[in-house]
């Protein structure tokens, strides 16, 4: 079968527990601040409608192509899954309640399950059938006491397995523990009394031996967490951080922890006047984006190097040699993707976003200088072979947009950092594509030997599908597509764990 034509072939009978689309297609009733009983959603953005709060599952998804016999395990993903209640619709993608997905690859086939994280917020709002607490990008009036940021915690950004639990993570507060087998919510994770309700970012970095690094920023403070593979807090530090309104991700090299801090301010007056935190963020194009380098062995050893203003959400990796650190991330101009493009998505409008490009930072610790280079591809959500975290990696995997007109990510791409060569596959107008993660082939220890798996949305069928690519040959198209008999809200991030 021609892999490239997968999405054009007509589907055969679907297996599994298909929910009627009528149940899933929650019609948007009102956008925050916009009277829009019928938002005219572009068909490529259906997943942005969100669910009503219902969980969903499918025991056996339809597989097109062949799932490799050595691809067995659970692929966990997390993203905002609910955007409206009681006629009120969030204006920002980041605001929705966390819906954790598990795609389980076994000898019996592939199953799918998605469950809402039972946060304090979700439970209270589900009962009230209205939004009760302010959200990141929507100025919801608080109708219940806000004692800590965990009262607004949506647990909606990423999911990782640590020890015997899954952690559903959000940027502004604690991680929420879930049962890996059932996705049942166990509760908030507190690492130490003085760290209760402290931010635990959604982008931990996990080294090949399981060493787990994370951070949080809040109110001018930064906290660093050093956690063992078993999930015990080994060390932590809290210190004053350079002022910035948002720090989403970071990188670790062999000996350092690296942050890139964009010049984002927060206009607290407009927050007090009822604006959301996201809406109150300001961009100071004349201020520097700061590189903060912290010694992994001694958190008090920190240095800052400045460069011209630019924005970053996601990092691929970092590694160092002879006191020179190399960091890769995805760079954009300013906050426009977050503050202009994402609200359009939430209204169902397909629009070209400001581009986000691969960026490569060279930090010379001897000279105290940085150099930034980049490529012109439109990408996001960079991932690497998990065995290469904090080591010299050769490949970076990104979803990419095949053209500015595509209105979003519609393909996957591997970049060879050494040669600059790329290997890529595009679904064209047929599908949109989410983050893809690299799964090493069991028994192999060569970087890049394995599978690239992820999730996409078939625009014509209005269904979500999983993908399996040969990591060494993306251009050949997916080895397998795993088709769900329904669509699920788009996710942000996740991880695969071999059985």
């Amino acid at each position: 079968m021609n892999r490239r034509s997968f999405l054009k072939t007509t589907g055969t009978a679907l297996t599994g527990a298909a929910l009627p689309m009528a149940v899933l297609n929650a019609t948007a009733t009102s956008a925050q601040g916009v009277a829009s009983t019928q938002l005219d959603f572009h068909p490529s953005l259906t997943t942005m409608r969100g669910f009503n709060g219902q969980d969903i599952s499918c025991e056996r998804a339809m597989v097109e192509g062949r799932i490799p016999a050595d691809l067995r395990g659970s692929f966990f993903r997390n993203g905002p899954g609910l955007f409206e209640r009681g006629g009120q619709r969030y204006s920002h993608w980041f605001d929705g309640d966390g819906l954790v997905n598990a795609w389980r690859f076994s000898d019996k086939g592939v199953s799918h399950q998605a469950r809402f994280v039972q946060t304090k917020k979700f439970i209270a709002e589900q009962q009230a059938n209205e939004f009760l607490v302010p959200a990141f990008g929507s100025g919801i009036k608080a109708k219940m006491p806000i004692r800590s940021s965990d009262d607004m915690n949506t647990a909606n950004t990423n999911v990782v397995r640590l020890g015997d639990r899954l952690l559903a993570m959000w940027e502004g507060g604690s991680a929420t523990a879930l049962d890996p087998d059932t996705l049942e919510t166990r509760g908030l994770v507190t690492w130490a009394p003085e760290l209760k309700s402290m931010p635990f970012s959604a982008h931990p970095k996990i080294e090949a031996d399981g060493t787990f690094w994370n951070f949080g920023t809040m109110m001018g403070k930064m906290v660093i967490y050093h956690i063992s593979a078993k999930g015990e807090l080994l060390r932590h530090a809290v210190f004053d951080a350079p002022a910035t309104g948002m720090v989403h991700d970071f990188a670790v090299s062999q000996q350092h922890i690296i942050f890139v801090l964009p010049p984002i301010g927060i206009d607290y007056k407009s927050v007090r006047d009822g604006k959301s935190l996201g809406e109150a963020m300001t961009w100071d194009a004349n201020a520097p984006t700061r590189v903060l380098v912290i010694d992994k062995a001694d958190f008090t050893k920190r240095r800052i190097i400045e460069m011209p203003a630019h924005m970053v959400f996601h990092f691929g990796n970092a590694w160092e040699e002879n006191n020179i650190i190399r960091v890769d991330y995805v760079k954009s101009k300013n906050l426009s993707i977050m503050n202009e493009w994402m609200p359009k998505l939430m209204r169902g409008e397909r629009a070209a976003s400001d581009a986000a490009h691969p960026a490569f930072l060279r930090i010379d610790l001897n000279k105290g200088r940085v150099d930034l280079t980049g490529l012109s591809d439109d990408v996001e959500f960079p991932r690497i072979d998990p065995r290469m975290v904090a080591r010299r990696n050769r490949s970076i995997y990104y979803p990419y947009a095949s053209s500015q007109q595509s209105g979003g990510l519609n393909g996957v791409m591997r970049l060879d950092v050494d040669s600059g060569k790329t290997d890529r596959y595009s679904f064209g107008d047929a599908a949109t594509v989410e983050e893809h993660v690299f799964v090493p082939k069991p028994g192999s220890n060569r970087e890049g030997d394995g599978y690239l798996i992820g999730v996409g949305f078939d625009i014509k069928r209005q269904q979500t599908f999983g993908t399996v690519f040969d990591g060494n040959n993306l251009a050949a198209g997916p080895m397998a597509l795993v088709r769900l008999p329904y669509w699920v809200p788009s996710c942000f991030h996740g991880h695969f764990y071999a059985a």
Binding site: M144, I146, K196, M219
Partner: protein, 146 residues
């Protein structure tokens, strides 16, 4: 949402309980009973601070009470109070260290509440939101820990 507001709750609590009770004893006085219900728990003590309108709200309290936390709820009484506007700030000192503990950014990590079950956003509510009037008669005011 400005940083100092967290600190304010903590400092107020510490200040309030650093004081000995200074009972007012005007000619016409009423007793105020504060009932604390909800998720009181059975660890440590419930620390109740009483403010009158002329006090600096969340600063130095007029009077305070401390009583062991009991799951079913607790009640404390302030006697012989003059007529006027009052407000209550309370917290549960779960680890019995006589202060409202906070995390590394100064956010309280022990339960707290205010009269009228008033709440602020990332900080205490205003005195106006928490105030109630005490007349010539004895009064009971219920606060729920959520």
């Amino acid at each position: 949402m400005t940083p100092p507001r967290y600190a304010k709750i903590t400092n107020a609590a510490v200040l309030a309980f650093g004081l000995s009770a200074i009972g007012a004893s005007p000619a016409f006085a009423a007793n105020l009973t504060v009932e604390v219900s909800g998720e009181v728990g059975d660890k440590g003590a419930v620390m109740v601070a009483l403010y009158k309108a002329s006090d600096k709200w969340m600063g130095k309290a007029t009077d305070s009470r401390k009583t062991a936390a009991v799951k079913a709820g607790v009640a404390v009484t302030f006697n012989d109070l003059a007529e006027g506007e009052y407000a209550i700030s309370l917290f549960i000192d779960e680890n019995s260290n006589n202060k409202l503990d906070s995390n590394a950014v100064g956010m309280p990590i022990e339960p707290y509440a205010f009269s009228n079950d008033a709440s602020g956003s990332f900080g205490p509510p205003s005195f106006d939101k928490a105030k109630f009037v005490l007349g010539k008669d004895d009064k009971k005011h219920v606060i729920t820990i959520k």
